[in-house]
Amino acid sequence: MLYRIAGQYKTSYAADHALFPVRQDAYLLGFILVMAFVVFPMTASEFAFRALLIPVLIYSLAALGLNILTGYAGQLSLGTGAFMGVGAYACYKIVTIFPELNLVVAIALSGFFSAAVGVAFGLPSLRIKGFYLAIATLAAQFFLVWLFQKWSWLYNHSSSAAIQVPNIDMFGITVAGPTARAITQYYFVLCVVCAVTIFAINITRGRIGRIWKSVRDMDIAAELVGINLMKAKLTAFFVSSYIVGVAGALFVFLWRGAAEANLFEIPLSFRVLFIAIIGGLGSIMGNYLGAILIVALPVVLSTVPAALGVPIASATAEHLNIMIVGALIITFLILEPHGLAQLWATIREKFILWPFPH
């Protein structure tokens, strides 16, 4: 009933190629955007911004980057954490070398560094596939984290071997650094994430997206319909690592405030990979659903019992988190291997047909 599509006729190919062939989808997205831009900022506490909203957005963006590589182009990667690190360290160097530079420009530029590194480590994909490629990207993971530790120029030779985000102003408002307000940072992250998402949607639904999906589904056939495999794979590594790098810069500059090399170790890569897989490979929306599940659920699980008056020790809460999230991951992978995005697609399909069985 909510999703009745009767009466929505398409009279041109342009209308058929629209982002929302079904009008209700556009209403739903509008509602979510209103929530994100107006309702959440008005109601959220400092804690909600720092522990829920900002990390969910940043992890969604990182998962989106990985999803372009793994979900669309079919190239398995375990180096996401390290590529995020490249973005973060590049942004730190840019900001400290050019303190006058606008932070948006600095973050946009730092993405190019991670994109270049991503393409370099994507070169093995021209010869190897699947799990073997994953191992090759694992090399990037170990090598880059080692580099972040050993190359002291990257953290300006600071004695703590960490990068510390300075106060950065944009148009008179502090957006990053110790004195920045959470709501400002939230809006900053939200705008960047929205812009990148729009670009990602546009790329994946057009010619380049189709090329990536062809390479994923059958690379030999893709080559024989005239697709240059090398170019297609390296473009995927470029775009993916660019987005991952931007997510890494946001991760440190707009959320953590400081970072050491070990922040970008393999658990971060796995976390982003879990988000992409649970959200749904080959889907843009899935990344957001996955990030909400993986990032927000632990926070909710640890705060809800206290709010309900059932005080549990923080160690117990942490163990519960691991158990519940682990069980959820396994359940989802068994019941819906294509992730939350597919689950939503099935529900939507049912809504469109309701009340008829088929």
């Binding site: 670009f199 010619r207 380049i208 056939a221 319909v225």
Partner: protein, 275 residues
């Protein structure tokens, strides 16, 4: 049945400036070896523009290897291939596509996770030019290009009578329809030479009739030259203008269907010789 195809559809296909009946592709003394195994030995033949050329032979005769050589998937150790007057030996498959050679596969090689529409659109990837920046913006040139190509793809969908499965992921389609989508994808490349590797394998009589009709229509209405591998002799003899017969990697006969049918070497290859 498809006499009402629009004029644009007829004008599809590469304008290569070669007159109908003139030589489009020539294979000269090609040999292909895999280590010690000789897949193809010293084969020469030609394909004329506008004809349907069948390549037949018993299993393992080297027919598919021959197609793979023509579209650049294998590089022969000896011999040359002349396409549209340009001589070559080795090339990458995506270059062959750019020159106007498209093909289908013996076992269906579609992009299973994509819809019929996307599969056929993917066939036009090389014809679409807008770069990443335009794609990011979507509205404007990228969308205009997308719609222009969608129109061409819809003509093919119309032609192959697969309108009803436009949005279906091809992995869910029955085999006969998958074969048809694959033909559609090859047509979308607007080839001047179309290589069909057993387009009717595993089909029932009705599906074979449909596919034969599509092949003839493609040949006549679009002027596409077709090289065809097929085991159904009835189909081969009815469809093709000329037939080349391979056996154990060697060419044993070449000529019109009638000549080939009477050729003793061909009869021996198919029926065996008394010992």
């Amino acid at each position: 049945m498809n006499a009402h195809v629009s004029p644009q559809a007829v004008s599809l296909g590469h304008e290569d400036g070669i007159a109908p009946g003139a030589e489009l592709l020539r294979v000269d003394n090609v040999s292909l070896r895999f280590g010690g195994v000789k897949a193809i030995t010293d084969i020469s033949f030609d394909i004329r523009k506008g004809e349907i050329r069948a390549i037949i032979g018993p299993n393992g005769a080297g027919k598919t290897s021959m197609l793979n050589v023509i579209n650049g998937f294998y590089t022969p150790q000896e011999g040359t291939i002349t396409f549209r007057g340009v001589e070559r030996r080795g090339m990458r498959p995506h270059h062959a596509v750019r020159q106007g050679i498209a093909r289908t596969f013996q076992n269906v090689a579609l992009f299973k996770g994509m819809s019929t529409l996307d599969n056929i659109m993917a066939g036009r990837s090389t014809l679409m030019k807008r770069n990443m920046l335009w794609q990011m913006l979507w509205h404007g040139p990228a969308l205009a290009e997308e719609i222009e190509h969608r129109r061409k793809v819809e003509e093919i969908i119309d032609f192959l009578e697969i309108e009803h499965i436009r949005r279906t992921p091809v992995g869910k389609l029955p085999y006969g329809l998958q074969k048809r989508v694959e033909l559609g994808r090859a047509l979308a490349m607007e080839p001047s030479l179309l290589l069909l590797d057993e387009p009717m394998a595993g089909m029932n009589l009705e599906e074979k009739e449909d596919m034969s009709r599509f092949i003839l229509d493609v040949n006549r209405q679009r002027g596409t030259t077709i090289a065809l591998i097929e085991h159904d002799m009835g189909v081969v003899m009815d469809l093709s203008d000329r037939v080349v017969v391979l056996d154990y990697g060697k060419k044993i006969a070449d000529g019109t269907p009638d000549e080939v049918k009477r050729n003793q070497a061909v009869i021996d290859a198919y029926l065996g010789v008394p010992h």
